[in-house]
Assembly symmetry: C2
Homo-oligomer: 500 residues x 2
Amino acid sequence: MTALQQLHTHLAEISDLNRISSIIGWDQQTYMPPGGSAARAEQSATLQKISHEMFSADETGRWLDAAAKEINGHDPDSDEARLISITRRDYEKARKVPAALVAEIARVTGQAIGIWTEARAASDWKPFSPYLGRIVELERRWAEAVGYTDRVYDALLDKYEPEMKTAQVQAVFDAIKPGLIELVKAIAAKGQAVSDEVLHREYDEQKQWNFGLEVIKRYGFDFTRGRQDRSVHPFTTSFSINDVRITTRFDQNFLSPALFGTLHETGHALYEQGFSQTLERTPLADGASLGMHESQSRMWENLVGRSLPFWKFFFPALIQFFPEQLADQTAESFYRAANKVSPSFIRVEADEVTYGLHIMLRFEMENDLLEGRVKPDDVPEAWNAKMRDFLGITPPTIKDGALQDVHWASGLIGYFPTYQLGNLISLQLWDKLNSAIPDLASQIERGEFAALLDWLRLNVHQHGRKFTSNELLHRITGEGLNPAPYFKYLKAKYSGIYGL
Amino acid sequence: MTALQQLHTHLAEISDLNRISSIIGWDQQTYMPPGGSAARAEQSATLQKISHEMFSADETGRWLDAAAKEINGHDPDSDEARLISITRRDYEKARKVPAALVAEIARVTGQAIGIWTEARAASDWKPFSPYLGRIVELERRWAEAVGYTDRVYDALLDKYEPEMKTAQVQAVFDAIKPGLIELVKAIAAKGQAVSDEVLHREYDEQKQWNFGLEVIKRYGFDFTRGRQDRSVHPFTTSFSINDVRITTRFDQNFLSPALFGTLHETGHALYEQGFSQTLERTPLADGASLGMHESQSRMWENLVGRSLPFWKFFFPALIQFFPEQLADQTAESFYRAANKVSPSFIRVEADEVTYGLHIMLRFEMENDLLEGRVKPDDVPEAWNAKMRDFLGITPPTIKDGALQDVHWASGLIGYFPTYQLGNLISLQLWDKLNSAIPDLASQIERGEFAALLDWLRLNVHQHGRKFTSNELLHRITGEGLNPAPYFKYLKAKYSGIYGL
């Protein structure tokens, strides 16, 4: 066997273990009876420990070195060259972080999630504050261990958005913030121009399920290589390029969670089903970054699923499922309802326009915490001040403010910006798509998604993790992150809906 | 850490991996889309390879030695002492079999299952015959590697029924064969005294599902520590003592597969849910043997589920689900239908009386093959001759004869007898149970199963794999395997039904 073959075999086995982690995690969130949770936690920990030991072993490094020599002179963008360079980067990071620090983070966040759950229920910041302090400190140590050149946040962001720098994110966020705040104000001034009351009528769950399936089959979700199940928190996970699972949830009195949730997860799933088969059982069978991943989910949820052409095609199907509930509606009225904008406290319930401001708030807060400008005890007040600045509203309780998200308790600092990067990237791609497929809107209005999916497969999906999101953006658009298309889209769409 | 603690930690991680193998196998048979199969096979192989490497490692032996010294003087029946002695036995077997032989068996049986599937569809023995020859040869080499003192079959039987000897099985099978053949003939002479036509009416699947759940909740299946799903071939599997999964299947025009299948799997599941919690994450959290396991499934399926007291209680519930289909039935008539006896070709469809003869045929055939008295090419003819001797019928095709079971293609030689051992053991336990709980039949007639389950938990379930089936039988009944209660039961029950 060549060193490259040895490396491939080794990484394939590690990939198997990581995929298996996804399988047991999926079962945990879909079907596992409550009695299974203690054993499942042990099984998950054992699997991750073995996977980490295998990956960070000396032999991985030796095979990487030897394989790099073997393919010296190959195209640096070939699967092999990229496999080696990206695995080398992962390997060096894995070797830099002391096992004791990883264990300490797992231990503290394990406790912190329980504390956060209780603190949130009681809307009381005090018990959670010291845990946030410890987590910020541990994440800072993590950042010091792997290293960074400019901002401590760079090291954390890099976990989710490889090679993206804080300064780059800061620049694009700063560029859109004033305009977004202004847009929100302008829409608020139009008050009750749009009502979403129709979304809150009573909708049978099984019919919601069936309508969702009808849409995502048309989108191109391949049910011979995936399936949908129910879970409390919707998610997408993959056990292979050819076995991609999505989940959804239902609210009998609110159509959006299942409908737009299913479209969102399908966007993630189409990405995962679209990786080149040559990447199976390699570390490259993954998204370029969480931001790039989110660009796919947001595109199929919002740019497609909340568009007027989409509803011109699908509203007649939806009304067949719910003739009584929708008797007073048209495609246009339903489209407007699905796009109501209103400043609100909870990020996950936010509309397309205000959503970005929720993210920017968190991005600023995380940097303030890491760089010592805000102390953990002062977070709720700082949070509320930003909510007033950004959205003009003050959370009535801490539960509606700084305690709403589980991310920090889970140790996920540096993760939030990827949600908004996804929004920005989705519009950069959307601009290119509309140039490449000039009649895209008409195709959507006819329920045709094949050209759209083909373009994404060719330009984004097939590459998996071979390129970073910045590299992919440069290959596709000729430039890096650019917030202009996003802002232009929001302004045009919501000027239309609200008559600004 | 003491050596015993180190051993525990090591075995717990191996146990985690083996449980995880069960999880991914369960998903494969319940929810996996077809596209997932190639990756799943790799994942399964990787997991088994790592588990085997960890278990057969030198350090396992060292910790076993050191831990044995540490607990020197302890009660030899304590969890610790048994953990060490049973693990030592497994370890020595695992070390004796060359990895190359294991890989060769996996490779050949992997091919053989495909060949068998096609051969069975074509009812053509010829393509499968050479594969059976190779599998018999490989299993013989396996037996030579692990060693045996008397019969080559001892080594194979030991995989499924630890420490049970071929001679012991032979003796009990020989003891009942003539009587069973005679009983079948006597029943056949009564011809059409019993009809099972009622079982073949049309029964809605969801109602079958609901009735089955009602029964097994009463049996004591703990749904906070388990669940039921659908699969093509029903099975029971455990991811923890506190997460036991059963599956079932439905035939709209035949009530038995779902109903009695669910009761059968629940018997297995009650065993697995009943292991002492102290055995979690140890190799002792398993059945004593496949025979002991089958004794539990057969007991809840047949001794309970096909009894008149059972139907006196549950028929009124069943008729509520199916008032039209069962309008012409009583508990008694339904009981008779559920116990129709008739010689037939297919083992899995056989009734309580003829079933044992199907097993004895296979037991004799396996020994004839291993000891060279029958050549693979001659199996179909030898099979048919035995069918005539035992059941008085000749399979019209090889598909109805020697090609019906997948076991040999899968390398499972020595496995079949455990089905019949389960029947024998279930009746030995049942005799003891009826002495311990004199009004057991009345309890069943009132739908009460708690005393029955408690007795099984105390005497069988809690011990897991701490004792062999022979040891358990001695502890409970004061003797080893004894076919008398089984034969007495069949004779009494079917004399009643058929008026012999």
